[in-house]
């Protein structure tokens, strides 16, 4: 299968994602230049980490205007799987492809370290090979990963089971938002990853591509890549089109003013 990894001028985890795909999972991967609205036949699109256009404005605010984003949106609308990692997650929020917004970390500081994540749902292309409730240890690296959504939006996300990963302690216990030392950025409901209503677009703050090799101190990130690979295999076996469902996400605007 083919992975397409979008390269914005300030992307800096694009090579890491391509390395993992090519050398750890021996799949094909192409770089997709942001000015070029061609997905080169990708089966799955990754929006990698970084600082897309410097992010001096709101993070990801400019990236959604890059020509490739129209193609990514159309791909997602057809049910194509899209994974936004870190800055990629922020861009998906700004593009309205996922709901919610990012605030600066509670500590007002960038934070890079391993965190523990509980897998909440396994019916997305990026978590289908994981056990529900499984705890993954994967690094984060961000200054604005404090996920926020208004109460009614949160309720809708929870009801629709769109929270994909949550920050927890090593045993998988979620703490209290305001004081939890295991929640590295203060995200509401300890949310580390969400998906859209159609479940084919997933945004996550942690970096699975940083945890795919034992030499790097952990392999729990493999679960995310193995899921999408497994998801395609399953789709091939069943000869069904590899789409989870139709895009039913309302054409939402990003939460204003955040």
């Amino acid at each position: 299968m083919r992975f397409g990894v979008v390269v914005f001028p300030g992307s800096n985890c694009d090579e890491d994602a391509v390395h993992a795909v090519r050398h750890v999972f021996t799949q094909e991967a192409d770089y997709l230049w942001h000015k070029d609205p061609d997905l080169k036949g990708a089966d799955v699109v990754i929006l990698p980490g970084g600082f897309a256009h410097g992010d001096y404005l709101r993070v990801g605010a400019m990236a959604r205007f890059s020509p490739i984003m129209a193609a990514v949106r159309a791909f997602a609308d057809r049910g194509g799987p899209v994974l936004g990692i870190c800055n990629g997650f922020q861009i998906l929020l700004e593009a309205g492809m996922l709901r919610g917004a990012m605030l600066r970390n509670r500590t007002l500081k960038y934070r890079c370290e391993h965190v523990h994540l509980r897998v909440e749902v396994t019916d997305t292309p990026f978590t289908c090979a994981v056990r529900a409730g499984q705890v993954l240890r994967i690094p984060i690296g961000h200054g604005e990963g404090n996920y926020y959504a208004p109460p009614e939006e949160l309720e809708r996300l929870e009801t629709n089971r769109q929270v994909v990963l949550r920050y927890t302690d090593p045993t998988g216990r979620v703490g209290d938002d305001s004081t939890d030392e295991w929640n590295p950025n203060g995200s509401v409901h300890a949310i580390a990853a969400v998906c859209n209503a159609a479940r084919n677009v997933v945004g996550m703050m942690p970096h699975p591509e940083r945890a795919c090799e034992p030499l790097l101190g952990g392999e729990d990130g493999r679960a995310i890549f193995e899921s999408i690979i497994e998801w395609f295999r399953a789709a091939e076996r069943s000869t069904l089109p590899p789409a989870v469902g139709q895009a039913t996400e309302p054409a939402g605007e990003p939460v204003a003013g955040l």
Partner: protein, 755 residues
């Protein structure tokens, strides 16, 4: 406009230096030319006080591909690859404006690396501040750390390690030294040269503004109460622009249409045009009216002296300009032709066609002043060397407010000393994992980066100890080289090359010049003995505030090669039941130690002696043992000695303990001080390793063959730290308690500052 003495003095030029300018030109300089001379002859750019000493450093070796003189040095790391690295200071700007000063320091050293054709893949930093509890220090530390993080994280180069120390002497003059390492294919190495008359000179990157004018001159003067007024001389960094430049320049190099490339750092356009011309034996002619400008009405003087960040100068091969322009357009950068290479060896500056400055390149570079400044041994040394442990131990000396005869409490005090304690509060603000190469995370020893596409990895460490150098600059410098190389060896890597950043006070004072000359001598001796030639570096002088100099602080960065990345070794004990082996002999040396400072409030004595032959044997042994996977962890003994080293081996391991038993060292008539000397003395050339019981015999045998003293001092296991001296258990803590002390000590100074 005539140049009167006041204008000359404002440009930091001495009367005889001005006379020299007049004789080079055969006439009085105009203001633009005076500005050009002033920055090029500043201490920062010309190395006029340091050059005669730096010449004595070893810079050669079969592994050296590029020694000093280019933007950065390069060493051969096999498989046709080069490691390109350098360390540089940004002390003065960081004191005036901590965030931007540190950020632009990172930006500057990254440009030095990619200018050589290498992709930067790792950063380290070495920082010095006043005591954390002193007013203002926390604000400075937060600003500097945030500035380093803001720049490095955004551009996507991991900060994989570093060191930080706190001493009163840095309160008015913090040190911010940044190291960057990149990888290049050897044939792709690029030089900063301009050659081939008629070839186009291009400017690319950020527009030129009025920021940073005279930054190099500022960095060549002492501080006083008016220093804050120099804030306009500090530049503002734009890491996104630099990311574009980095990617575009690396892509341009692949076209083969490039002759040379140079970043505009200190002294901006002036220094880059001059140095490129001088290295290529050519001249450069530019027209400043073609330079992209951020603001209207800038004079040639301002344009030539601006230190606006994220700008590059490059020379294109004739006929291939379009290829270069195309790449920059792709990255939304605009490369502008501002002049061309000439054959007359002159730097010629025009403004709309009219010549506004004309200076021979040589006068600015090779013929710049060189001073053999007088030096003399400082008077403070006699008193500082006076350390009578009998008197100290008797409790009768006047300076003993905090002596503790309880080794248990002494260990906790040392673990909580910010210089020793965990720096997690700092390094977790740095993205240390981007590029997915980091195989020894910060805090575990040297930074280690695997090289994708090979089995190899590089280990790197920056070290220095200002207190040692204050007490003995020569020995202190040797110890800095030894420690950096030892840290690299402890990761399992063979040390290959070094870079240095020499931070000192005002060289016009003979006692400062003595410190400098002695330290350079020590560096040279140690680098020769340990096989790590110096491939480049930086000198930062005038680190003084209100006439008080910092501790002399040579900081050394050493890079080493690990042929098998998966053999990397860290400081942490790996499992219980392993033997703890100490390599090297302790002599209970307490002079200049962290123990004396923290527990006895004393900075006195002579720093530990260093036997470079023994040190080399020790490092060779560690590398050989890790090559053969015979050791499971390795950690050197430095600040706080053996007791702190063994404690640190237990940390970040989930509470696994260790028990050791060592012999006392008789250094005084007082038992408690003898115990302390054995536990906390900082004798050099010692490493603590852990070994499985199966491998123990071979490890001891190998040590004996290589003539490295080795003894089993204990065993891992349990959940307590137990240390006995001469059979008496003098330290016993739960690992959890000790680790909590160590891991929270630094952060607590900042906790109340966070909303």
């Amino acid at each position: 406009m005539t140049i009167d003495p006041e204008i000359r003095e404002r440009h930091g030029l001495k009367p005889d230096e001005y006379e020299r300018i007049v004789s080079f030109l055969g006439r009085e300089p105009n203001l633009t030319e005076l500005g050009i001379f002033s920055v090029m002859w500043s201490e920062h750019c010309s190395y006029k006080s340091s050059r005669v000493h730096l010449r004595t450093l070893p810079t050669n070796g079969p592994q050296v591909l590029q020694g000093p003189g280019e933007n950065a040095g390069a060493i051969d790391i096999g498989e046709g690859l080069a490691a390109v690295f350098k360390i540089e200071s940004h002390n003065h700007p960081s004191f005036i404006e901590p965030y931007q000063g540190a950020a632009t320091g990172v930006g500057g050293i990254i440009r030095d690396i990619f200018t050589m054709g290498a992709r930067p893949i790792a950063l380290l930093n070495s920082l010095r501040f006043g005591p954390l509890e002193a007013p203002g220090t926390a604000r400075l530390v937060e600003g500097v750390v945030a500035g380093i993080a803001g720049y490095g994280n955004s551009i996507g180069i991991p900060t994989v390690g570093g060191e930080i120390a706190f001493e009163p002497s840095y309160a008015g003059n913090p040190l911010v030294n940044v190291f960057c390492l990149g990888i290049a294919r050897q044939p792709d190495l690029v030089k900063g040269i301009a050659s081939g008359a008629g070839n186009a000179v291009y400017y690319v990157g950020a527009k030129t503004g009025r920021d940073g004018i005279h930054g190099a001159t500022m960095a060549s003067a002492e501080f006083d109460e008016k220093s804050a007024e120099k804030r306009p001389a500090v530049q503002v960094g734009d890491p996104f622009m630099e990311k574009l430049l980095l990617e575009a320049c690396l892509e341009v190099m692949q076209t083969g249409a490039l002759i040379g490339l140079q970043d505009m750092g200190a002294a901006g356009l002036t220094c880059s045009t001059t140095e490129m011309g001088s290295r290529g034996g050519a001249g450069v002619e530019i027209d400043v009216s073609l330079v992209p400008q951020r603001e209207a009405g800038m004079t040639p003087y301002e344009i030539m002296l601006s230190e606006s960040q994220e700008r590059m100068l490059l020379v294109a091969k004739r006929g291939r300009e379009a290829e270069i322009e195309r790449v920059f357009e792709k990255w939304d950068l605009h490369a502008v032709k501002i002049g061309e290479v000439t054959h007359d060896g002159m730097l010629r500056v025009k403004d709309r066609g009219r010549v506004v400055a004309e200076v021979p390149n040589r006068a600015l570079t090779d013929d710049a002043p060189v001073y053999r400044r007088p030096f003399s041994e400082p008077e403070y040394l006699r008193e500082a060397h006076d350390l009578d442990l009998d008197v100290l131990g008797s409790g009768l000396a006047p300076v003993l407010p905090r002596v503790s005869t309880d080794q248990n409490r002494a260990l906790l005090a040392l673990l909580a000393s910010p210089t020793v304690a965990s720096k997690r509060w700092i390094y977790r603000q740095y993205d240390h994992m981007v590029r997915t190469n980091t195989i020894n995370l910060p805090g575990l020893g040297a930074g280690v980066i695997r090289i994708k596409g090979t089995e190899r990895a590089l280990a790197m460490s920056v070290d220095g100890n200002g207190r040692y150098c204050y007490l003995d600059p020569c020995r202190g410098a040797m110890l800095a080289v030894a420690e950096a190389a030892r840290n690299v060896a402890c990761a399992g890597a063979r040390p290959l090359g070094a870079t240095n950043c020499l931070n000192f006070g005002n060289p016009e004072r003979p006692e400062i010049m003595w410190q400098f000359a002695s330290a350079v001598e020590g560096l040279g001796r140690a680098c020769r003995a340990l096989g790590v030639p110096i491939t480049g570096g930086n000198v930062s002088l005038y680190n003084e505030t209100d006439g008080k100099a910092i501790y002399p602080t040579p900081v050394v960065g050493v890079v080493g090669l690990l042929e098998q990345a998966n053999r990397v070794v860290s400081r942490r004990f790996q499992g219980s039941g392993d033997a703890i082996v100490l390599f090297g002999d302790g002599h209970g040396e307490l002079g200049g130690s962290e123990y004396l400072k923290v527990v006895c409030n004393l900075v006195r004595g002579v720093p530990p002696s260093v036997d470079l032959v023994a040190e080399r044997a020790l490092q060779d042994l560690i590398v050989a043992l890790s090559d053969d996977s015979l050791i499971r962890s390795a950690h050197d003994c430095s600040d706080g000695g053996l007791a702190v080293a063994v404690s640190e081996c237990c940390f970040d391991r989930g509470g696994m303990g260790a028990e050791i038993s060592i012999a006392g060292t008789r250094v005084s008539n007082h038992d408690w001080l003898n115990d302390a000397a054995a536990l906390f003395g900082e004798s050099a050339s010692r490493v603590v390793v852990s070994v499985t019981p199966d491998a123990l015999a071979s490890v001891l045998e190998r040590a004996a063959v290589m003539k490295v003293p080795a003894r089993v001092i204990g065993q891992t296991g349990g959940n307590r730290l137990r240390m006995a001296v001469d059979g008496r258990m003098v330290i016993e803590h739960s690992v959890d308690d000790a680790e909590r002390m160590w891991s929270t000590a630094v952060g607590q100074y900042f906790a109340r500052r966070v909303a």
